[in-house]
């Protein structure tokens, strides 16, 4: 009953000065709208930039580093007196991951793993007339790449599935293709590190957004690459794993390192700098948003102060007729929160509209083939935070004037007349 009454009085006071109340609410609306837009845009940008790398980066990568055997022959025969070693040369299959089919089978059963994509990397030279350009051909399982690493997003021309369907085909990096003046349908010559020459048909162009990468990287099917290298179908240099939860990647990498006796690298170790960049951008957005809200808070503070001076008589009579100090305080806090609530609500709506406008502004850069407009993130989180912030700021802005109102001595007002 009491709260209903307080609400009623707050409402009437609010409406009595509705223009000022409106101005205060508009302040909140503006700051919340900007807060939402800014955060949505910044996060959209973050997601895009992160996606540029992270989407295509396996969460865990299994591979074999070429490195000296930790158990050198001399160590094995320790304690046997003098040892003579002659003509030791590195043998073995280099970068090949051993036991691929068993590993793949085990990984596909692991429910922490979203998908696995085996890969063969081949160092090649693209032959352009007399000049050889160094390059890397990634032999990939096209379907797995599409599913896990958004492969088709980066194939700007041609159809990625042709890689599988057309024998001896290649998708060239855009910058490399420009160097070779090659376009779809052309046949280019590559020389493998073993010296074999192989003609490959261009079925598509690939653009990652990182120019240096596009100069070097090309894609071919697993079989084509294995054939290039003269290796059997079991020859795999990398196994790329996408996990269900990216945060569990380091633990999984550790486990696989031991389990499969290969090298394993997780995404956090490989790309730690991206997280730093993202968090700095988020902090800046929050700081700007909160600053705007504080400014709006001062507006509310001013208006409530004015209202209290104007309504001194009313406050005095309310107290004389039995409203306690805390009732009066609640009335003014209710006023502040109402301004905050409605201002915030409209702020969310305008923020959504503004985000939508930003989302539709054309944004074309050569480096980012998949992006056509400014990226915006519509996460519900920002809207919840925006609403909570607006209520908190208006509560704080209302608290000081409200406390002042609650301490008004009715005797002074009533006798002063």
């Amino acid at each position: 009953m009491n709260s209903k009454l307080i609400f009623e009085i707050a409402k009437s006071l609010l409406l009595a000065r509705w223009k000022q109340s409106m101005v205060a609410a508009v302040g909140v609306t503006f700051s919340i709208a900007m807060f939402i837009t800014l955060l949505g845009f910044m996060t959209g940008l973050n997601d895009m930039l992160d996606g540029l790398i992270l989407n295509r980066t396996p969460h865990v990568r299994l591979f074999n580093e070429v490195k000296p055997n930790p158990e050198q022959p001399t160590a094995l025969v320790k304690g046997l007196g003098y040892v003579f070693i002659q003509s030791i040369k590195p043998t073995g299959n280099g970068q090949n991951v051993d036991n691929v089919s068993a590993i793949l089978q085990a990984l596909r059963k692991d429910n922490r793993v979203l998908g696995v994509s085996p890969k063969v990397t081949a160092q090649v030279f693209y032959n352009v007339g007399n000049i050889d350009i160094t390059g890397v051909i990634n032999g990939v399982d096209v379907e797995a790449e599409q599913k896990l690493f958004h492969f088709s997003d980066y194939v700007t021309k041609g159809n990625p599935t042709d890689l599988k369907n057309v024998p001896n085909s290649i998708i060239l990096g855009k910058a490399a293709a420009e160097k070779m003046m090659a376009s779809i349908g052309d046949v280019i010559q590559v020389t493998t590190s073993r010296g074999d020459r192989q003609p490959l048909k261009v079925v598509g162009l690939f653009q990652s957004g990182l120019q240096d990468l596009d100069k070097v990287q090309s894609f071919a099917s697993l079989a084509t690459t294995q054939k290039l290298l003269g290796k059997p179908a079991s020859y795999i240099t990398d196994i790329n794993i996408k996990s269900v939860d990216i945060l569990s990647a380091p633990a999984m990498a550790n486990e696989y390192r031991k389990l499969f006796a290969t090298d394993a690298e997780d995404i956090q170790t490989a790309n730690s700098q991206f997280e730093t960049g993202s968090s700095v951008r988020s902090v800046i957005s929050y700081a700007v948003g909160i600053t705007l809200l504080i400014v709006a808070g001062f507006g509310i503070y001013n208006i409530l102060n004015m209202m209290i001076y104007e309504k001194m008589d009313s406050i005095a009579i309310l107290k004389a007729t039995g409203f306690s100090g805390s009732d009066v305080k609640n009335i003014f806090i209710t006023i502040a929160l109402t301004i905050g609530f409605f201002g915030g609500l409209f702020g969310l709506i305008f923020g959504l509209l503004l985000s939508n406008i930003v989302d539709n502004i054309p944004f074309n850069t050569a480096g980012l083939p998949t992006i056509k407009t400014f990226p915006v993130n519509y996460s519900l989180k920002f809207y919840v935070i925006g609403m909570v912030f607006s209520l908190i700021t208006t509560y704080l802005a209302g608290m000081f004037p409200a406390r002042k109102a609650s301490k008004i001595d009715p005797v002074i007002i009533i006798r002063g007349k």
Binding site: M1, I9, S12, L13, I317, G322, F323, S324, S326
Partner: protein, 226 residues
């Protein structure tokens, strides 16, 4: 002897700024139920100050104050507010109606605050009070649409809404012309006679006071005679 509604025992009050000046000296008196008491005295004799102490709005004094046999000293602000709400009705020189609410709502506010009756019942009671004061036809108007005398009557209706033990008035006719003062006095008279309502009215209008049942005359912070 009839029931004592209000009792003041040895109340002293001083202002301390800039030097200590005693305002009230050893005020002791009591008001019985159904009495119509007026407090008179010259300006500055402390009669308004006394009224605000008796009304619990001013708590900075020495001595003891009983309302309805309950000691008021040391009660918390919220508890005093509750007592003002429930047991005391106020009529001031100025009406102090809330311009944002209509007449009926103004009268109802303390009643809803008390929460003893449902809103519907409070509204019914407010209409009854307005009827007693002959302004029930103005119930849905806003205060600034009423004349000065009507506003003061609304203020009296508001004071009555919770059936207080005592109505305190601070120069309730001070702002009114002869005719309206007359009306207000008649209303007070009617309230004591018909409803056995206790009234304590501070006034400097000797003619008004002379017609009340009992006069407390004050001078220089003391009760001269009662």
């Amino acid at each position: 002897m009839s029931e004592i509604i209000l009792e003041a025992k040895a109340i002293n009050k001083s202002f301390h700024d800039p030097v200590t000046i005693p305002i009230l000296k050893d005020i002791t008196f009591s008001v019985n139920k159904g009495e119509f008491v007026s407090v008179i005295g010259k300006s500055g004799c402390g009669k308004s100050t006394l009224l605000y102490i008796l009304s619990t709005m001013d708590t900075d004094y020495e001595g003891e104050l009983y309302i309805d046999r309950q000691l008021m000293n040391h009660l918390k602000e919220g508890e005093l507010a509750r007592i003002r709400n429930e047991k005391i009705g106020f009529v001031f020189q100025f009406h102090y109606l809330l311009n944002e609410f209509n007449v009926l709502r103004n009268v109802m506010l303390p009643g809803i605050k008390l929460g003893k009756y449902a809103a519907k019942e409070v509204e019914h009671r407010a209409m009854e009070k307005l009827k007693i004061l002959g302004i029930d036809d103005q119930a849905l108007k806003l205060p600034n649409q009423l004349s000065g005398g009507q506003k003061q009557r609304v203020a009296i209706a508001r004071a009555l809404i919770n059936d207080p033990h005592i109505i305190m008035g601070d120069e309730p006719t001070g702002n009114l012309d002869k005719k309206n003062s007359e009306t207000v006095f008649d209303i007070f008279q009617q309230l004591t006679k018909e409803f056995n309502q206790t009234l304590l009215i501070v006034t400097h209008d000797n003619e008004f006071a002379s017609r009340t049942q009992r006069i407390i005359e004050m001078q220089d912070g003391r009760i001269l005679k009662q």
